[in-house]
Symmetry: D2
Subunit: 287 residues, 4 copies
Amino acid sequence: MQSAAAPLSERQRRRQRQPPLLRRIEPLTTIIGIAVKLDYAMTGPAPVLMQIGAAEVDGQRIAGESLVATPEVSHAVPGHDGIGQRLWLEPETQFTVSYAATVAVDRTPAPLAALTADSLTALPGEVLEYLFPSRYCPVDTMHAAAVDMFGHLTGGAAVEAVRGWITTHLAYVPGASHGGTTALDTFHAREGVCRDYAHLLIALVRSLGIPARMVSAYSPDVDPQDFHALAQVWLAGDWHLVDATGMADPATTAIIGVGRDAADIAFLTIFGAATLNAQVVEVALVG
Amino acid sequence: MQSAAAPLSERQRRRQRQPPLLRRIEPLTTIIGIAVKLDYAMTGPAPVLMQIGAAEVDGQRIAGESLVATPEVSHAVPGHDGIGQRLWLEPETQFTVSYAATVAVDRTPAPLAALTADSLTALPGEVLEYLFPSRYCPVDTMHAAAVDMFGHLTGGAAVEAVRGWITTHLAYVPGASHGGTTALDTFHAREGVCRDYAHLLIALVRSLGIPARMVSAYSPDVDPQDFHALAQVWLAGDWHLVDATGMADPATTAIIGVGRDAADIAFLTIFGAATLNAQVVEVALVG
Amino acid sequence: MQSAAAPLSERQRRRQRQPPLLRRIEPLTTIIGIAVKLDYAMTGPAPVLMQIGAAEVDGQRIAGESLVATPEVSHAVPGHDGIGQRLWLEPETQFTVSYAATVAVDRTPAPLAALTADSLTALPGEVLEYLFPSRYCPVDTMHAAAVDMFGHLTGGAAVEAVRGWITTHLAYVPGASHGGTTALDTFHAREGVCRDYAHLLIALVRSLGIPARMVSAYSPDVDPQDFHALAQVWLAGDWHLVDATGMADPATTAIIGVGRDAADIAFLTIFGAATLNAQVVEVALVG
Amino acid sequence: MQSAAAPLSERQRRRQRQPPLLRRIEPLTTIIGIAVKLDYAMTGPAPVLMQIGAAEVDGQRIAGESLVATPEVSHAVPGHDGIGQRLWLEPETQFTVSYAATVAVDRTPAPLAALTADSLTALPGEVLEYLFPSRYCPVDTMHAAAVDMFGHLTGGAAVEAVRGWITTHLAYVPGASHGGTTALDTFHAREGVCRDYAHLLIALVRSLGIPARMVSAYSPDVDPQDFHALAQVWLAGDWHLVDATGMADPATTAIIGVGRDAADIAFLTIFGAATLNAQVVEVALVG
């Protein structure tokens, strides 16, 4: 993704050891083209943390990728849970980034409703944090309502019920939320954008004892095209993508990063002040 | 700590490779005795996640330890960031736990005010999450006030100023807060318990661009004796304990676990309902 | 209610002009006996605002009443909307209050479900505030969910649906809430006490365009016996009592005061610090 | 203000009895010209509640006034506390309003810092509600911080200190807040618009035991020109205007209405959905 030597997690090292040529593109594979341009003017020098590259994770493979940043990326660190990379820029007055990638996605969505939840005691240790309350998913305060509404269901059937409820009861309204909007706010507002749909699904699913995390991603049918956010739920021993907005088909979605909620998956975190000059995200099915 | 084979993180494995006999108890070392008894009646069968054992981390060594649980611990997983262990119990009607440990603490508190903050871009990847907002430390909403109050300071001097402000402006009032109390609530209430002091310090310090995390611990001067919570701040390339309540001296404090905030370091998480029969925590300097 | 000359509102004056002997106790009238004892120790001298007397309002008549306070009541002012009275005490170190009353209640509860809502434009000016958001009834944030849940209903049928939903989905749990708990919190917690039940009903009903206010009251079937809180909704040109807890029958309930929410109907507001020595509320049907 | 016969409060009636010709424009009087145009398209028929007319209150006199609305005003009711008027419109598809007024203001701002606070027990009954928490001024949660910051001061000196603190610590940033922003949010965000400045001042001042209410007003130096919000504090037996933004000089400010907070003084409350076509507010010193 870029030339700077970045420290890699053990998990990433294991992934890199896989001879990439072994994973040919299979007949079912979808090819996604991604192009991103960012152009921001800084109010003053400040570090900027960016996570915009498609990740090397199961179900998707980076076929080709380029990232040109001005100023250059000064340092890279692994993303949350070792998925994807976060890049540091240290702009003085402005920064521009061009990212392009071709990603082969080979992900057969499981029929969620048929999957069983793992018993809590069988969960891997690193999955437990995805049961707990987080900044925008206050499971502690939403638990009782979630159990009242969906507690008669378990596993994938519960997740499907939550997803269906959100799809039915929320309106997708750009501008309806703001940076501090939580899942609880969205539950009441009955409207939001992808971030809010994902937060609400995650908070309700966690409340039912099923781990759920936030995913940033590229997907061609997101309208208007932009960085997208959806959820992953842990069922039957693995993570499964779920998008309550219905816009991102797992079979054509390229994951960027994961985290507890929007606090962890920001595509840009500017430790200072900046103004947006231009931002373009284009995602298309190319094969 | 107990016999069940637990999956160990890479970090824990590295720690275990250190021949324990090499680390004799040095003249400066403090010996702490810990005794905990828990007795809870369950409303129905439910899994219980417990993190109460002193951790094997730099600055402290478990000299002796025993844990007897009824029912027996069914499974163990690493704690957050691979520090300490979380134990699963699966009680039907009741559970009782007796934990006893002798811990040698050899930790020379650094003069915080003299330490410099690492530049953000130099932070290890796994430390970044401790800059972000979390459930009880809503950095996003507290950032502007923190910068207004302490933004003229940097590094350890800023941490010391935050700690001093909290010590001066908060009253330690058992019962003043509840499970949903956030750092922002505490900022206004001007009172709380150890959990609240730690949350407020963490939220303010993170707002200043310095990583901070929550620590559960045993410490002999905590009054009344109980599980204790304090903070660690990342300065000059390492974590340093800070207790805004002033009750826990780092030199005599045994760390149990760490996390973003209280959501991660609960000593007990009961995935169901239970009532407390008895709970005793005793911590004493024994050498 | 007490001898100190209190300023009376125009509305109160009008009520006083009614020759009291004309309103005999009718066959259907219920007689309620009320006895209250308060005993508080002050941390220091501070004014105390108290509203505990049954009010002279339609549907109830004070047959007999005595109030003995130490120190004596220093001043009285009308309660919110001119209903009932607020009494000032100025204790130095302690205050004790004994209140006893016999109240004749002659209130035939209307069949709520059959009542129609007034058009908004027909509402009296002083009723409008009961449509707006208040401290514990944040109608602005709950509006969309309320409309989604109950928006297909109107008037008394909508109120009945809200009341039924609360009765079904909430558990009455003493200690479940605290002083800052809002209707939104209660919506999610699915538990609370009378104050919380009333707040939730008021917030949902206001969200549907029907005025609703909070009422403090005495009622004999409240268990455990205490000051009680319920709601009044404005339908068909008048206020109607509704109690989502089901404990207070309008036909046997004596109103103390009204207001937007708990902020307005506190039985005691201590502008300083005090500790409770004793507090007893006894309410009984005596005829 | 308009021809429809509106019910008048007792207070308004008393005001009307004053022979208007007795109050000539004195040498010190300021003449303010006000012109407002509103043009909204309705999503569907819905009642609209509007409060935009300058009020007949002490310190200002309506020299001339016209209001033309399409559709016509269907009904008028007194504003909160009997100050000003709320007008109902019942538009089907659109509404337009033109309001023009000439207001003579004769208000000598008192030197606030020199005024003493009334003892709580001496407050008129109808002023008490302005001590209590309200939707956007959660005095209950802000009380301790306010006392910690300003509790060493009393009366006008305390109000002046609060006003000065807000002026120094907040930045006036259009768009920084939203409809749900409370005084507590603003305290932390350290930025806002007139509504937020007023809420924060009111919440802090009430926390100190001094009644404070919200005022909607026209003032010529508000930049950009718009409906303005400021506060009134109760000192030395009367209400006094205070504007923490510094934009509205009491001597040139025409009061529209008052209330507990923004919930009570909305210039437009649309009980349905509408889109803004045009809105113009012009206020100028004309004499």
